[in-house]
Symmetry: C2
Subunit: 352 residues, 2 copies
């Protein structure tokens, strides 16, 4: 295999200097038309491609975004991060950026990995997922002036947001609220909610969406709410409890597809194949079994993250201060995906 061609080779063939070749690639507008054509021809002829590491060394930019691949994907919803990752990679590529993976078992290990990648000048910016209250990673990144953006809000600091924290999130509250209203509009009288124990930002937010939707219509939420850890079995148990209670619900909204699948099983088990159930995340499983679900606009989240990091059209990470005028976050609306969530069995169309 012959040595890969360099700028020097291209320059020789095109009969210009190194720098002109470089200019054709990086600031084509300052090169005379005729020259540019000649250089491009030479590039094509030789199959030249700039050496990424050389460029990075000189420019002190890696054009790389680091993201942690979570250790154990939380079951059914694992596909959310997956889809997000795909969207991020694809859109980053269009902006000339790459996505580098790393793993870490906990927040401390993640910080250590981030430090390694940053110190090695391997990565220009980081994308964090699953933010929590008092997120140690966020604090560290801000303190150390490392560019980053999160998929997830800085829960708990709504009243005093830090403009150095760039984030994109999906408005779960609005999504659940919409789903609840949709069920009420469809004739439901008692819409129950199966959520998670309070304490998680996203969980509390979604719960609030349901509560508010009921209040809006002057309905009491009283005993229609059950909080359990996220699992199919728990979802099933919760639904069984609700369905056997005095005020039997005629529709259920869940904080996740996992819970919704459990609820679906419970309902079908007692013959309530028609009980409307809506999950959250629009996972492949929901699609496969025909569950309605609230879908997060993951492409939009990826686009938002990149916009915050790179600017509307830029292709390199901006330093803080370059954009003090612009908003530092983005809250996107989810979308309700309706399926015939009446029967568990589906026609051919719903298959994966």
């Amino acid at each position: 295999m012959a040595q890969l061609p360099t700028v020097e080779d291209v320059a020789r063939v095109a009969n210009v200097s190194r720098q002109t070749v470089s200019n054709v690639l990086n600031s084509p507008e300052i090169v005379k038309e005729a020259t540019r054509t000649r250089v491009l021809a030479a590039i094509g002829e030789l199959g030249y491609r700039p050496h990424a590491s050389a460029r990075r060394l000189r420019t002190q930019k890696s054009s790389t975004i680091g993201i942690r691949l979570e250790p154990v994907r939380n079951g059914i919803s694992g596909s959310v991060l997956d889809t997000f990752l795909h969207a991020l990679t694809e859109q980053a590529d269009r902006r000339g950026m790459r996505v580098l993976l790393f793993t870490a078992d906990d927040a401390a290990a993640e910080i250590e990995q981030i430090r390694r990648l940053r110190d090695g000048a391997d990565v220009d910016a980081f994308v964090l997922t699953s933010t929590s209250y008092q997120d140690a990673r966020v604090e560290w990144l801000i303190e150390n002036n490392v560019p980053f953006a999160t998929f997830g809000r800085p829960w708990g600091t709504e009243d005093n947001p830090d403009p150095r924290h760039l984030w994109v999130d999906v408005d779960g509250r609005a999504g659940v609220s919409e789903a609840t209203r949709h069920l009420l509009d469809g004739g439901a009288q008692a819409v129950a909610y199966i959520g998670w124990p309070s304490g998680s930002g996203a969980g509390d937010d979604r719960h609030r969406g349901w509560r508010e939707a009921l209040e809006e219509r002057g309905l009491a939420s009283g005993d229609l709410h059950v909080a359990v850890e996220d699992s199919v079995a728990n979802g099933r148990a919760a639904a069984e409890q609700l369905l056997s209670s005095a005020r039997r619900p005629d529709a259920i909204v869940c904080a996740s597809d996992t819970l919704a699948l459990g609820a679906r099983l419970a309902a079908s088990a007692v013959g309530l194949d028609d009980l409307p159930i809506i999950g959250f995340d629009n996972t492949p499983v929901a699609e496969a079994v025909g569950l309605s679900s609230i879908s997060q606009p993951l492409e939009g989240v990826a686009a938002g993250v990149l916009e915050l990091l790179l600017g509307p059209t830029g292709n390199s990470v901006r330093t803080r201060g370059e954009f003090s005028e612009e908003p530092t976050n983005r809250l996107l609306a989810p979308r309700l995906v309706e399926r015939r969530s009446t029967h568990l069995a589906l026609d051919e169309n719903t298959g994966l």
Copy 2:
């Protein structure tokens, strides 16, 4: 933020030359003990970390493995690639390698992306997944002498294997065979199989495992096999068909968890909550609903891929010829994960 320290800075503090610092990092054994200690102290003091791009430029190695993130994860089984990716990233890290993602819509686009990353010296080796008959990507990589390994066999060339194609795969046939024997040992008389239309390497392989297990016991496989495209709905329909046929099966093995979930639903719908069903891939969904499933040793696959690419202990990609003595592939055995696949509802333990 102060400028990051360089070898030069470390050298000055430790009172040695650049090269000695470099040696401490790359061939510590040739540096005198006392000097090494002094240099390491200086490194610690300054928090020095080698500049990845500079090193790559000089060594002409990127220490990076490229892998394509598949476009639409095929429903429920998407988690397989995901888990593999996690294992690969983690183990690569231990070997000083990084994992870079890219996306592509089809094989041609994937080749183009590979070419870009290779030409830019961004990636030393590639890992391909989901190999098919006559895989164009594999042919291109071999022809262009790009280091790579695949998760998946070179289907169709068993009789004339190309030693330049490094691969790791899981023995689906053995897995399905084991599952089938297990059911027969448990007292089943008629074990059915729901698989995919013939034509896919993995699918045909798994099907064969079932057939052979029956033949081994002198049983006829006759009408106990249904082939459908992979979807929950199809799995359900296939199971319904089998269960209403003359020779009603008393256990079912499926080519995927997706099909198995469908089969489970069909069985439960007609009251056969106890019908044993075994899926394939051991996805979070199988875990969540308590389905038995054949689990692929993904950590092992990741380890195998790295071993083939880097050698047993190496930490950089080997060129062909360096290892003509060693085997060029690895076939790993899957493991049957048993769950109480009798009822769809499960106790707390199975919840995810």
